[in-house]
Amino acid sequence: MKFTLTINGAQHQVNLEEDTPLLWVLRDSLGMTGTKFGCGVGACGACTVHLDGQPVRSCQIPLSAVGNASIQTIEAVHELSAGQQIQDAWIQEQVPQCGYCQSGQIMSASALLRENPTPSDSEIDNAMRGNICRCGSYSEIRKAIHLAASKGDVNHG
C-alpha cells in the first residue's frame, strides 16, 4: 500500500505492507538510520521518535497507524529548542559511551523537557525508564537533563 509520511517536516512516499513498523520504514526504506533497532517489542526505547510531539516506540507503530501525524526523528531533533538543549547538554556531560541507545534517550529527554521544563529526579526517572542503556550512562543522563533544564530557564528567563 502507498503511504505518505511527514517526517521532520518533509513528505515521504512509501509503498509497503501496512503492518510494517515505522522503525523499519525509517531505517530500511528511507535510510534514516539514526533511529535504532534494539528489541522490536517496545521494551528498550532505542527506536523512540516523536509522533505529534509525543515520544513513541517506532518499532510498535505500524505504518497504518501513523496517518497524518507528524514524525520527528533524531536527525532533526535539533530543530526543537528542547532537542538542541538536550544535545548540547549531552555533549557537555559527555553522556554517550557506545552511543547506540542515545538517539532514543535524546528523543525521550527532549520530549520530557518540552512538557516539563524543570523535571525532578523522579519525573526524569518516570520519563526515561523506558530507555535502556547497557553502558550505564544513567547518572550522566540525569545530570544532562538537569543541565539542559537550567539552560532553558536562562533562555526563557
Binding site: 538510520t33 535504532k36 559527555q94 557506545c98 552511543g99 547506540y100 526515561m128 550505564g136 544513567y138 540525569r142
Partner: protein, 729 residues
C-alpha cells in the same frame, strides 16, 4: 626538556616492542606525512601491507589536520579518544586539530605482544601505552629535524607546542609546513626516541572530551546495523531451538511467497531467510515449518545443571593452588559454603549483525567486532579466500562486553553472503541475540576455611565447577601451566588469590554441559569474586571481626588492595552507624591489572534488596583520561547490578527461556544508584579500566544484605529470593 622514561616497566615494554615493530614514514600522494607502524616479524602481515594502506597511526596534512588511526574497536569504553591522547601527547599535536579514524584490520594494529588485532581484556590502553607514545614521539622528532634543517639551527634549540616547531625568537613552522620534508626523513629508532617526563604531560591524565561524542548525539555514528549498500539484502537466521539441535527438514512454501523474499536455505546452524529488508525477512521467518533433531545441552533445566555441577565437584579436579597442609585442619572454627551463579547474556544494545560483500577474489566485511584478526580468519575459512584479501571495516560497536569477540554472527553472515553477488547484512533479532548463546558460564563453587583462635585464616579450600573458556574461545595463551584455565580460577589460583594463608588447595573441575560460553565483562572474576568475597565476610563474621579489618589483616603484602580498601572505607565512612533499614557491605577484587574496592549500601523495599549507593575506589595505575575511567566504573557497576538483581539465562527442556528485555531485565534509570568514584593517583603502568569495577559489586551488595538480614546469599540473581530485616527474623 624531555627525558627517557626509566621505569622498569617502560623499558620492558620497549624491549618487547623492539623485537616486533618499527616505523615507516612516507610523504603520501595527496601531500602530508604518513607514519605507519610496521610489524615485520609476521610474514602474512607484510603481504597485506599493500592491500590496506590505511594501516597507519599518524597522517598529518599540509593544512595541519592530524589524522590518528586507531585499530582498537570503540564500543563505548573510549579507546578512540584515550589512545589518540597517547599519540597526540608525544607528538605535541594541537588537540583541536586531531581527527580520529577507525582503522582497518591490519598488522599495524596487532597487540605489541601478540599477532592479533583484538579489543578485550581491558587491554587497549595497557597494551598500547608505550608503543603509541613512542610512535607520536618519533613523528615529533622528525618534525624537529625537518625544521632544524630548514632553519639551519641545532635541533636542541628547537621546541614543539600545539602542532608547531618553535625556534628562538619565536620563529614558528607548523607541522603542516614540514610534512613533505619530514616525510623524506628516516624514522628514528623507537627505542631511542625521547619520551616526555610526566611533569610535561598536557593530555595524559586529563579529562579530554570524547572525540566520538558529536556523531553519537546526532544519530550519525555508523554502527554495523546502520550499513546500507547498493543492492544490499538482509538475512535473518532461524536458529536451532536448543544448542546442538540440527536442521532435519524445512518447508518454506509459504515463506517463499512472502513479500521481498529472495532465498531460504540451510546454513551450518539453522536456516537463512534472505529478503530485501529486515522486516520482510523476520516476518517470513515465522511461516517456515522446520523440524530439528532433539539434540540439546546435557541438562534440561537449571536445577539439573546445578545437580550436575555438584556431582562434578565430587570428581578430582586440576590443582590451581596448593600450599602447606592441603587436607584442611577442620578446627572448631570451620566455615564452609556452596555457591552457584547462572548463565548470563551480554545483551548489547545493538543486536549482533554483520554485512559482507563477497567477490571472486576478495571480500569486504562491515561489522562491529572486537576481534578483527579472528573475523578475517572466520570469513577466510568459510569462503576459501586468502585472509589478506578480506577487508574488515570495523564500525562502532553498540556495546561489546566480550560478546563481539565471538565469531558466530560473522561465520553465519559469510555463509549467507556466499550465495549472493550483492552485499548481505545478516541480523540477529533481539531474541536471536539473547537465545543464540555465548554466555557467561554458569558455575558452582564450594569453599571451606579454618580460622585460629585469633580469627586468622589458617587454611583455605575451594573447588570450582565451570567450563573452560580456553576451549570455547581457542585462546590458548589463557591456559596456565598444568592445563588449568586461567579464566576458571581467576582470583583463586596461586598467583591471584589475594589473602594470606599458609595452607590451602584450590581445584577446578571442567564441567561443560554443551552451552556456548564466552568472555563476559570481567570474565572469571565476575563469579569467582562473588564466591570469595562473600565467603570472606562469613569468615569475618565467624571470627567476630569487622569485614574491613579482617581483610586488611590478611592483605599485609597487598599494598594496592589495602590502598583501595582504605580509600573506599574512608569515603564511605565505614564504621559509622548505618541509617535504620540500611546496611553497607564491602568487597575488593583485582582483575585485569587493576584493583577495585566498593562499599555498597542496601535497603529493602517491599522485601526486595535495593542498592542505594555505590562508592568505588579504583587503582588502575596511571590513568589516561579520568573522566572516561569514572564512566567505565559507573558502567561496570550498573552492568554488575543488572546481573545481581535479575540476570539469568535459564533453561527449560534444554531451551533458553529468556528472549527479550521483558524477561532479561537490565537495570533502568530508576534503579540507578548514587555513585561516588575515587580514582586513586598512580604513576605505575596503566591497568585495565573497562572491567575491574564489575566483580566487587555483587559480593559487596550481598555482604550488605547479610548485615541487614542475616541471610547469606549463595546463589544469584537476587530476584525470586526473599529477605527480611535481621531484627524481624
Amino acid at each position: 626538556m624531555v627525558e627517557q622514561l626509566t621505569s622498569t616497566s617502560a623499558s620492558e615494554g620497549a624491549k618487547q616492542l623492539s623485537r616486533r615493530a618499527f616505523l615507516k614514514a612516507s610523504a603520501i600522494i595527496t601531500g602530508g606525512l604518513q607514519l605507519a607502524l610496521m610489524m615485520p616479524s609476521i610474514a602474512q602481515a607484510e603481504k597485506s601491507e599493500d592491500a590496506f594502506t590505511s594501516g597507519a597511526y599518524i597522517r598529518i596534512t599540509p593544512n595541519n589536520q592530524v589524522f590518528l588511526t586507531i585499530g582498537q574497536s570503540e564500543m563505548g569504553q573510549g579507546s578512540l579518544t584515550g589512545l589518540a591522547q597517547l599519540i597526540a601527547e608525544e607528538l605535541d599535536a594541537d588537540w583541536a586539530t586531531v581527527i580520529v579514524e577507525r582503522g582497518e584490520v591490519h598488522s599495524a594494529f596487532f597487540r605489541p605482544n601478540a599477532p592479533i588485532q583484538v579489543t578485550g581484556g581491558s587491554g587497549s590502553i595497557r597494551s598500547f601505552y608505550m608503543v603509541l607514545r613512542q610512535t607520536g614521539a618519533a613523528a615529533r622528532q622528525m618534525m624537529l629535524l625537518a625544521a632544524a634543517r630548514h632553519w639551519n639551527l641545532p635541533i636542541g634549540n628547537l621546541n614543539t607546542k600545539d602542532g608547531m616547531v618553535i625556534a628562538p625568537g619565536d620563529q614558528r613552522l607548523s607541522y603542516g609546513d614540514l610534512v613533505s620534508d619530514a616525510g623524506a626523513l628516516k624514522v628514528p629508532d623507537l627505542l631511542s626516541v625521547p619520551l616526555k617526563d610526566e611533569s610535561e604531560f598536557r593530555l595524559i591524565g586529563k579529562p579530554m572530551k570524547r572525540l566520538d561524542i558529536q556523531e553519537k548525539v546526532t544519530g550519525e555514528a555508523p554502527f554495523g546495523m546502520d550499513i546500507q549498500l547498493p543492492g544490499m539484502l538482509t538475512a535473518v537466521i532461524l536458529h536451532p531451538p536448543a544448542f546442538g539441535a540440527k536442521l532435519l527438514a524445512f518447508d518454506s512454501t509459504a515463506a517463499d511467497k512472502a513479500p521481498g523474499i529472495k532465498a531460504i536455505f540451510p546454513v551450518s546452524e539453522g536456516l537463512a531467510i534472505v529478503a530485501d529488508s529486515y522486516w520482510h525477512a523476520v516476518t517470513a521467518r515465522k511461516s517456515v515449518a522446520v523440524s530439528w533433531s532433539d539434540d540439546k545441552p546435557a541438562f534440561d533445566n537449571d536445577v539439573q545443571n546445578k545437580k550436575m555441577m555438584e556431582l562434578a565437584l565430587q570428581q578430582p579436579g586440576l590443582v590451581a593452588l596448593e600450599r602447606g597442609d592441603q587436607r584442611g585442619i577442620f578446627s572448631a572454627n570451620h566455615v564452609s559454603a556452596q555457591y552457584d551463579v547462572p548463565h548470563l547474556a551480554h545483551a548489547c544494545m545493538e543486536p549482533l549483525n554483520c554485512t559482507i560483500q563477497l567477490r571472486s577474489d576478495s571480500a569486504e566485511v562491515w561489522t562491529g567486532t572486537q576481534f578483527q584478526t579472528s573475523a578475517q580468519q572466520t570469513v577466510a575459512s568459510v569462503t576459501g579466500l586468502a585472509p589478506e584479501s578480506i577487508a574488515i571495516h570495523t564500525q562502532y560497536l553498540g556495546g561489546g562486553f566480550g560478546r563481539r569477540s565471538a565469531q558466530d554472527f560473522i561465520r553465519l553472515a559469510a555463509e549467507v553472503a556466499q550465495k549472493f553477488d550483492v552485499p548481505v547484512k545478516t541480523v540477529y533479532s533481539r531474541e536471536d541475540d539473547m537465545k543464540a548463546g555465548y554466555y557467561r558460564p554458569a558455575a558452582c563453587c564450594q569453599m571451606a576455611a579454618d580460622l585460629d583462635h585469633n580469627g586468622s585464616l589458617v587454611a583455605f579450600q575451594a573447588k570450582l565447577a565451570v567450563p573452560s573458556l580456553v576451549k570455547h574461545t581457542g585462546l590458548k595463551f589463557l591456559m596456565l601451566p598444568g592445563g588449568v584455565d586461567s579464566t576458571a580460577v581467576e582470583g583463586l589460583d596461586d598467583h591471584s588469590f589475594p589473602y594470606q594463608v599458609a595452607n590451602g588447595r584450590v581445584e577446578w573441575v571442567e564441567h561443560d554441559p554443551g552451552v556456548p560460553v564466552w568472555f563476559w565483562r570481567s570474565v572469571g572474576a565476575s563469579q569467582n569474586f562473588f564466591f570469595l568475597e562473600t565467603f570472606v565476610d562469613q569468615l569475618a563474621a565467624k571470627s567476630r571481626r569487622d569485614p574491613l579489618e579482617f581483610r586488611l589483616a590478611h592483605l599485609e603484602e597487598k599494598p594496592r588492595h589495602r590502598r583501595v580498601l582504605e580509600a573506599v572505607a574512608s569515603a564511605a565512612r565505614w564504621g559509622t552507624p548505618d541509617a535504620p533499614g540500611v546496611a553497607r557491605g564491602i568487597a575488593v577484587a583485582e582483575s585485569f591489572g587493576s584493583v577495585c574496592a566498593q562499599v555498597v549500601e542496601v535497603e529493602l523495599q517491599d522485601g526486595f534488596p535495593v542498592v542505594r549507593k555505590v562508592v568505588s575506589a579504583l587503582d588502575a595505575g596511571r590513568v589516561i583520561n579520568p573522566a572516561m575511567v569514572e564512566k567505565q566504573v559507573h558502567g561496570s557497576v550498573l552492568y554488575a547490578l543488572s546481573a545481581l538483581y535479575s540476570g539469568r539465562i535459564s533453561f527449560e527442556k534444554g531451551q533458553v527461556v529468556e528472549d527479550n528485555f521483558w524477561t532479561y531485565e537490565p537495570v533502568r534509570i530508576d534503579r540507578s544508584p548514587v555513585m561516588e568514584t575515587l580514582i586513586l593517583p598512580s604513576t605505575a603502568p596503566p591497568g585495565g579500566v573497562g572491567e575491574p569495577a564489575t566483580p566487587p559489586l555483587a559480593p559487596a551488595a550481598c555482604n550488605a544484605l547479610f548485615a541487614l538480614t542475616g541471610k547469606l546469599v549463595t546463589s544469584l540473581p537476587l530476584k525470586g529470593q526473599s529477605f527480611k530485616l535481621r531484627h524481624s527474623i
